[in-house]
Symmetry: D2
Subunit: 149 residues, 4 copies
């Protein structure tokens, strides 16, 4: 339990609809698997097309699903007439992205009226064992009066 109140009773529908409009998620094959107020989890199965020069998940792809996980964690708390914008993030890569599944878990640390700060941890699962491979600290902005669609 996160202790956050959702920004809208039907926040989950709104978040899933927005995620569904992120065409990049289709291209890479990412799936939104869990939502709670202030939380979002995205999964991405490995395929060679996602790899960097050593055959692991490219760091930028880890950043891509982590950015969306943190952004949608924040979006769960935003009012219906708002959209979410990533202001910035910083990512530390802690271990090679070597595995068959990548999991990004975004969680809001602080939700202000305009700015939201989120943390995202990304784990890579190899032979069923998960290793923390990246962690992000991210700032997001609530765009009031600009509905997502």
């Amino acid at each position: 339990m996160s202790g956050f109140e959702p920004g809208d009773p039907v926040y989950a529908d709104r978040v899933r609809a927005s995620f569904g409009r992120q065409k990049i998620m289709v291209l890479i094959g990412a799936q939104l698997v869990r939502l709670a107020p202030g939380e979002c989890e995205i999964h991405l199965l490995f395929k060679p097309e996602l790899s960097q020069q050593h055959g692991y998940y490219h760091g930028g792809i880890i950043g891509t699903i982590a950015d969306s996980a943190g952004g949608y964690a924040a979006f769960t708390l935003m009012p219906r007439d708002a959209s979410v914008l990533t202001v910035e993030y910083k990512m530390n890569l802690l271990a090679p992205g070597d595995g068959e599944l990548l999991i990004a878990r975004g969680r809001v640390l602080k939700a202000g009226r305009t700015l939201v700060v989120a943390r995202v941890d990304a784990g890579v699962v190899k032979n069923g064992r998960e290793t923390l491979c990246a962690t992000l600290l991210q700032t997001l902005m609530t765009m009031h009066g600009r509905p997502d669609q």
Copy 2:
């Protein structure tokens, strides 16, 4: 002119070969268009498959080509028996990634024996006019004794 000495007389071949092994660059359609000691420029034409919920380049995709641009800028300075690893980066998104072409220009700020710090600016070109849409500050590591291939 960057003032840096390449780490290897045939650095360009080595960098291009490594970039060629990043399969994610093929998936998204990125191209390495310029190399110089301490510098690397990558281009990415827009296609709807790269977009976030508002139809612009997804921030994570901007981060993906910027990560590679900074990483390969650093790699130009590394010895033949080394590979490059991204330690971390921080990216500020300055304007929507709205345009037909994305350009990431990586440039080494400081090259130490083990760590290299790079800056990457990403511009988006719309109707022929380029706007700075993101800037990154990135730390990379030279993996001595571990050739890239």
Copy 3:
């Protein structure tokens, strides 16, 4: 020339007055030496009381004057009824802070209505020769309707 318009014709008085209220600047001995629209330069003479365990400027002190240099660079562009808040910054330490004078130069990269992004470079001067010892990427917020004093 920065190309920015000041937020207020008497911006320099407003910035200097705010800097004068930062008592930490007196404790460490920092001085605001230059202002222009979107730019601010702060100097700090070395004294042993500012040092870390090896006798150099402590990284946090480099961060302290850099934070103020970027913050006041942003503040030059803000309207009279606003105050400035640091949202976040990321600092890379590029060389030891070994010298007799530390110079932080803040420069606005992008000024939005609410958020401002600044870059700060910090140089350390030893025997008259300046070395880049840190670089920051910083996000600031305009607090509209809340004058600084």
Copy 4:
């Protein structure tokens, strides 16, 4: 319990001696109050000399004790013949530093042979109630063969 093994059986003496050589900690009045393998906690009582323009702890001072808290958390894990260097950190300010006591708690997330990644949370205590006011993500380097003193 952190699960980390100290780098040296007398790590606490070595860390305390190094902290004792950080003269900036004396100037601002910071105290190292707790150490464990991979963990370090530093306290700083408020005094007006530490304040920014609104009378709160200056963000750079929060960064200063947080940098040391993360650095010494990392140093607990390093061998006797090594010293610790901050490579970079990113700090988000989450709430005003308004209170009578500032507490920085550093904790190692990942300890590699050369690089260590730490997280630092800073809380400000006002009327006995603690509020998270900043969080940092930090990269540190083990300088093998260069003892701290």
